[in-house]
Subunit: 159 residues, 3 copies
């Protein structure tokens, strides 16, 4: 859109809820992004955009977000979600964001992200300057959700 | 995004179509939102945003929308979709939107929304000022769709 | 959003990848839209918006896009994705975009789009001035993806 993204912030959360949608809502709240409108994007970090600590975002703001979420209603099951980004040496080039969710351990989720980012840079022919992964795991009690997200923000979105 | 949401409007529709996507398109047309671009959001009513009757929206406008849709190709099946919102006593706080779709009756869909909104307010520790639910049901003839939506609008989006 | 769409561009791509998400990423790269943020829309061509050759888009730009994608991990399988648009005689009215993806041939995908656009215009009571379909097919080696997309663009989005 006409929005100019000037910063990004990664976060993750996991929670139980009495329905799958409430578990998702509760995980978003735990992640600090439960009172904004997520707009799913697929999934590029614009050039020269720093990834910062999650700032305070205006309630109801429309926030382009790359995210992975998994919900399970199987008690005892382990679910994990992860996002990661990598930025290239060349600051004029964009970074890449990858998402993973599934019935997997946290380590498996993190490893999946790293592998996908490696391939994304290999096919782009870019040298990777930095890679970071954010993962969360949840053991389901009744209905659980794990999610990880990278929000794309502009100054206007902040409180 | 940089868009400032100043009003919201709820609607619902159901229809048959010769494909699942046409049934969805036809249900959108019946709901009065078939000639705009829906951008799915997850799903907060910004603070102090009134929910009004669906106004005339510019054709092709990009409209952030919380929606639930269900399509079925099983003749005789009952499908329902619902959305609902609740707003807090404190006008500085955001409201919450919940969606439901499934092989359920209209009453079950409405009840699901109410339960989810109750939990959403309980976990936020907010007192609920008002709750409204919009639901629609459809009995499938050949290929049917039921959908319910809350659009997030700005003055610029209107004809 | 407040964005004013002034042009649209169609594209398609297909690729292998070492994961489903990488195959999708690689197909996006082949289609020339691998370094932007796609925001899925559902799926109207605004009035009087020409569909042009894919221009060079700013890396990381947030681009509303109607798209269809299919991924398969079954070696030997044929997968196809298609998008198409139709515009009405009346330039004040919007066009319609339809998407298809599945385990189908390119011809089946194209035919599905044509049928859906025909119905969309019949139910709207609009005479069709022009219809175009963009399809791609892929025979899976290990993990493959086929995708077709129509991006909705503004001047600001271009390099």
């Amino acid at each position: 859109m006409t929005k100019t993204v000037t910063m990004a912030a990664a976060t993750a959360g996991h929670a139980e809820g009495s329905t799958a949608l409430n578990a998702f809502d509760n995980a978003l709240l735990m992640a600090g992004i439960g009172n904004i409108n997520l707009i799913k994007v697929s999934s590029i970090l614009p050039p020269d955009v720093p990834v910062i600590e999650l700032p305070k975002i205006k309630p109801g703001a429309l926030i382009p977000t790359a995210y992975a979420a998994v919900t399970s209603e199987t008690p005892g099951e382990t679910i994990s979600a992860a996002v990661g980004y990598a930025v290239p040496d060349d600051p004029a080039k964009n970074g890449v964001i990858m998402e993973f969710h599934g019935h997997a351990s946290r380590e498996e989720a993190e490893q999946a992200i790293r592998g996908m980012l490696d391939e994304a840079f290999r096919v782009r022919g870019e040298a990777m300057k930095e890679m970071k992964v954010f993962a969360v795991t949840h053991t389901v009690e009744r209905i659980g959700c794990a999610l990880a997200a990278i929000t794309l923000l502009a100054e206007d979105d902040l409180v």
